[in-house]
C-alpha cells in the first residue's frame, strides 16, 4: 500500500531518521537532559520548575513522534500528557508549599526556563499541524498545543511567585 497518512513515502525496513525524529532527538538532548539535571540539583522550587519544563518538552517529543513514525494514533499520548502534566506540577506545588523558599538561587535562569518552556511550544506545534492530515487530527494537535501553553504558563507563574501566606497560617510549621 503506497503512500501513508502523512503523504510521505512508506518507510523502509529500518527507520530513516527523518526530520521529525531529528527534531525529537534534538529536544531529547538539548531540552530533557538539562531539565533532568535541573530536577536533580538545587532547591525544591527550581526542581519543580525543571519538572514542569521536562513535562512540556516530553509532550513535544511525543507530539513529534506522531509524524516522525507516521502514526496519527500517537497523538493520544501527547494529549494525555498535556492534560496530566500541569495537573501533577500544580498538586506538587500545593503539597510542597512550605518547602518552597522565597526565591531560587538563579532567578534569571528560572524565569528564562519557564518562559522558554512556553515559547518552545508554537514552533513545534505549527509544523505538526501542517504535516497532519487536515480535519479532526489538526484540531487535536491544536488542542494539545493550547493545553501545553496554558498549563506551562500557569505552572510557571504559580512557581515564580513567593509562597502566599494562607489564612492565619505561620510558615513555621
Amino acid at each position: 500500500m503506497r503512500g501513508t497518512a502523512y503523504g510521505g513515502e512508506a518507510p523502509g525496513k529500518r527507520w530513516p531518521v527523518n526530520g521529525w525524529l531529528a527534531a525529537a532527538c534534538l529536544l531529547l538532548v538539548l531540552g530533557l537532559g538539562p531539565a533532568l539535571c535541573g530536577a536533580v540539583v538545587g532547591p525544591v522550587r527550581s526542581r519543580l520548575l525543571a519538572q514542569n519544563v521536562a513535562t512540556v518538552l516530553a509532550a513535544l517529543v511525543l507530539l513529534l513522534s506522531s509524524p516522525g513514525y507516521d502514526r496519527p494514533a500517537y497523538l493520544d499520548t501527547a494529549l494525555v500528557l498535556a492534560v496530566l502534566g500541569p495537573a501533577g506540577t500544580l498538586v506538587y506545588e500545593r503539597l510542597l508549599a512550605e518547602d518552597l523558599p522565597r526565591g531560587t538561587p538563579w532567578p534569571a535562569l528560572a524565569r528564562a526556563a519557564s518562559w522558554a518552556s512556553v515559547a518552545v511550544v508554537p514552533p513545534v506545534v505549527v509544523p505538526v499541524c501542517f504535516a497532519v492530515a487536515p480535519g479532526r487530527t489538526t484540531v487535536k494537535v491544536l488542542v494539545i498545543g493550547a493545553l501545553l501553553v496554558a498549563g506551562s504558563a500557569v505552572c510557571g507563574r504559580a512557581l515564580a511567585r513567593a509562597p502566599r501566606t494562607a489564612v492565619g497560617e505561620d510558615s513555621g510549621d
Binding site: 500500500m1 497518512a5 512508506a10 518507510p11 525496513k13 502514526r71 496519527p72 494514533a73 500517537y74
Partner: protein, 115 residues
C-alpha cells in the same frame, strides 16, 4: 548497540537494588524499588522490539501494511505498570504505619527496636 538495551535494564535493576539496600529512609527505599520495577519494563519492551516495526494498533494503519512490534510483551508491561503502582501504594501505607507505631522510618533504628 545490540546489547545496550538489555545492559541498561540490568544496570537499572542493580542500581535500584544498591539504593534499596543502603537506604536510610523507608520511603526512599520504596522509590528505589520503583526504579527496580522500571528495569523490568525496559527489558520486556526491548525483547519485543522489531526495528522498522510500528505499534500493533491498526486504528490508523491497515493491518499487514507494515511490520509490527510484539504486542504480547506490551500487554504484560501495561498491566505490570498499573499493578506496580498499587503495590507501591501498599508499601507506602505500611511505611506510614511503621512511622506511626515506631516514630521512625530509618531501617537501622527500626532494627534496634526489639519487642
Amino acid at each position: 548497540m545490540n546489547l545496550l538495551p538489555f545492559l541498561c535494564a540490568g544496570w537499572l535493576f542493580l542500581v535500584g537494588c544498591y539504593a534499596l539496600a543502603t537506604s536510610r529512609n523507608l520511603i526512599h527505599a520504596v522509590g528505589a524499588l520503583a526504579v527496580c520495577q522500571s528495569s523490568t519494563y525496559v527489558l520486556l519492551l526491548a525483547v519485543g522490539y522489531r526495528s522498522g516495526g510500528t505499534a500493533p494498533v491498526f486504528s490508523d494503519v491497515p493491518p499487514g501494511a507494515r511490520p509490527v512490534v510484539d504486542p504480547v510483551v506490551q500487554a504484560l508491561t501495561l498491566t505490570d505498570v498499573v499493578v506496580g503502582a498499587t503495590v507501591t501504594a501498599l508499601l507506602l501505607a505500611l511505611v506510614v504505619q511503621i512511622a506511626k507505631r515506631h516514630g521512625t522510618v530509618d531501617p537501622d533504628e527500626l532494627r534496634e527496636l526489639r519487642g
